[in-house]
Amino acid sequence: MNSRLWAPCLVFLSGCLAGCGGPIARDCRLSPVEKTFVLSEPYEFTDSAGTGGVCLLAPGVYRCYYMDPCGDYYEAPFTTKREYYFSGNRRGGVYVTRNEPRECRTYVQDNEITHYYGYAGGGGQFGGSGKFVILTKLPEDFLGLAKFSPVQEGASHDENQ
């Protein structure tokens, strides 16, 4: 508890960010409320936490299936179109915090292909922790372009089905 005891740890952890920001893997919970937002046009952003290149979010319905104490995970639609950031095996979407002012970041589900070093031979193999990793902060105009469904307070998924 004494902060002095934590000091050595800080040397190793200084690059990491605590709390509700930063590129971190999160444990999620099922969201009890059905929420969506719709992007009517592709959205362009700079992937500052990744390659630094300009990327596109696909238009379509983003659905919230999971939450954590800080925000909600809206899953991007699966697509084959390679021009979009979430296509092929890259799965994820947009993480929206609930604190005001709300903040939007991309997240990916850790599904990377690992290589198989077994004695049985080489080859590609799927791996990854399956956790959600929060990455690039999206510009503030994103919140204005994404049309969020009205939140139905207390509406559980059972009532919606």
Partner: protein
């Protein structure tokens, strides 16, 4: 015998990964010909779930992990894939909305039993002419749950992660003439993983892990729909996908409680906190471990510390060393429910976050003394 079978399956998986096909998107021409009559069928479902072991494993490691028979393997053998079967109806509804005439082929197709006909990479390699004849259709939509079960990462024979729910799907559209493949969702792409919500090792039924597998199967249906229809998919098309499949009543109640209270949780760094900051905790706060007073509420254990007037409460899970997320959430849910009953209002929740983003504890700010109430539920001496 089971070990041998697992080794064969894993070898097959390695070989299959090398000859995986690339996805083939639906041709724009298909969408222009609504007179096309489409048969929709599923391939026969796997009889039981499977364990997908990922990561760096040699043959000896595989044999050891098979012999250990960890819990996820027992769970996988209990699972069935029946919930995948309604995918045909969902596709039929969406295709009919788009103007196509559809026939759902009622019998699952035994692909292994079908005659092998072609090795052309653009053509389907099994003879399904019987299906075309029976349905009188021009194209066949074949939806296949290739496998399902649990996925876990290993290094050698040591698990590197908790198991996840897993489903592997592939969708194909095949033309009657020449068996040409008109759409292929891909062999590699259709692997869906779902996290387990809460602890997974719950013998004998493994409800949380089973739930994750069920959600993976549901999400595999979503994957096929989105891959086929892409931007043509209606907003309500996914309403039939039950992303809360396998959710236990406890999970549901807890999620509702968390969603109610966690409307923007502020965070503080657990690295910098102490018994005097960010809040002065004078009751049961330990120099070494934080909250030190152990309580139990309806079987949910937690550790607490409090401010002098009892209006600030620090809650932590019962153990310091293990994965705490579910235990901490459960403790929060039980305490919030108790406070609701006694009309003690939580005015603010502040999460104490570790550098990896996991929460180590929550500070609850209350409108009156709630700490004294919690102390009535002590399970051990201070």
């Amino acid at each position: 015998m089971r070990t041998n079978r697992m080794v064969v399956v894993l070898l097959w998986a390695v070989l299959a990964a090398g000859c995986a096909t690339k996805p083939i998107p639906v041709s724009p021409e298909f969408w222009g010909h609504t007179e096309t009559k489409v048969a929709i069928a599923i391939a026969s479902l796997p009889q039981e779930g499977r364990v997908y072991r990922e990561g760096h494993q040699g043959l000896l490691d595989m044999i050891i992990t098979n012999a250990m028979d960890p819990g996820e393997a027992r769970c996988a053998r209990m699972l069935t894939a029946e919930r995948f079967a309604n995918i045909t109806e969902i596709f039929r509804r969406e295709l009919e909305k788009a103007g196509y005439k559809c026939v759902v082929y009622s019998e699952p197709i035994e692909l292994e039993a079908a005659e092998e006909v072609s090795h052309d990479k653009d053509c389907f390699d099994r003879d399904l002419s019987g299906v075309f004849q029976q349905t009188g259709c021009d194209t066949l939509m074949l939806l296949q749950l290739v496998g399902f079960g649990t996925a876990r990462t290993y290094y050698g024979f040591t698990p590197q992660s908790d198991p996840k729910g897993c489903a592997v799907v592939r969708g194909l559209m095949i033309a009657r003439s020449e068996n040409e493949i008109l759409w292929d969702s891909g062999r590699k792409e259709g692997m869906i993983r779902e996290p387990v919500i809460g602890p997974w090792a719950q013998e004998p039924d493994y409800p949380n892990l089973t739930g994750a597998v069920e959600r993976a199967i549901e999400k595999s249906k979503k994957f096929l729909l989105e891959r086929f229809f892409e931007e043509r998919l209606g907003v309500d098309a996914l309403d039939g996908i039950d992303m809360h499949a396998g959710e236990t009543p406890e999970q549901k109640k807890l999620a509702e409680t968390l969603a109610h209270y966690m409307q923007g949780v502020e965070t503080t760094s657990a690295v910098w906190m102490s018994c005097s900051k960010p809040y002065r905790l004078t009751q049961n706060c330990s120099f070494w471990t934080g909250a030190a007073f152990r309580i139990s509420l309806d079987g949910v254990e937690a550790k607490i510390a409090g401010s002098e007037d009892g209006t600030v409460v620090l809650i932590q899970g019962p153990k310091l060393t293990t994965q705490q997320t579910w235990a901490l959430d459960s403790a929060f849910g039980a305490i919030a429910t108790l406070f609701e009953k006694h009309e003690i209002h939580i005015t603010k929740v502040v999460g104490a976050a570790m550098p990896d983003g996991t929460f180590w504890g929550y500070f609850l700010l209350l409108d009156k003394d709630g700490y004294s109430l919690l102390r009535e539920h002590a399970v051990s001496k201070e």
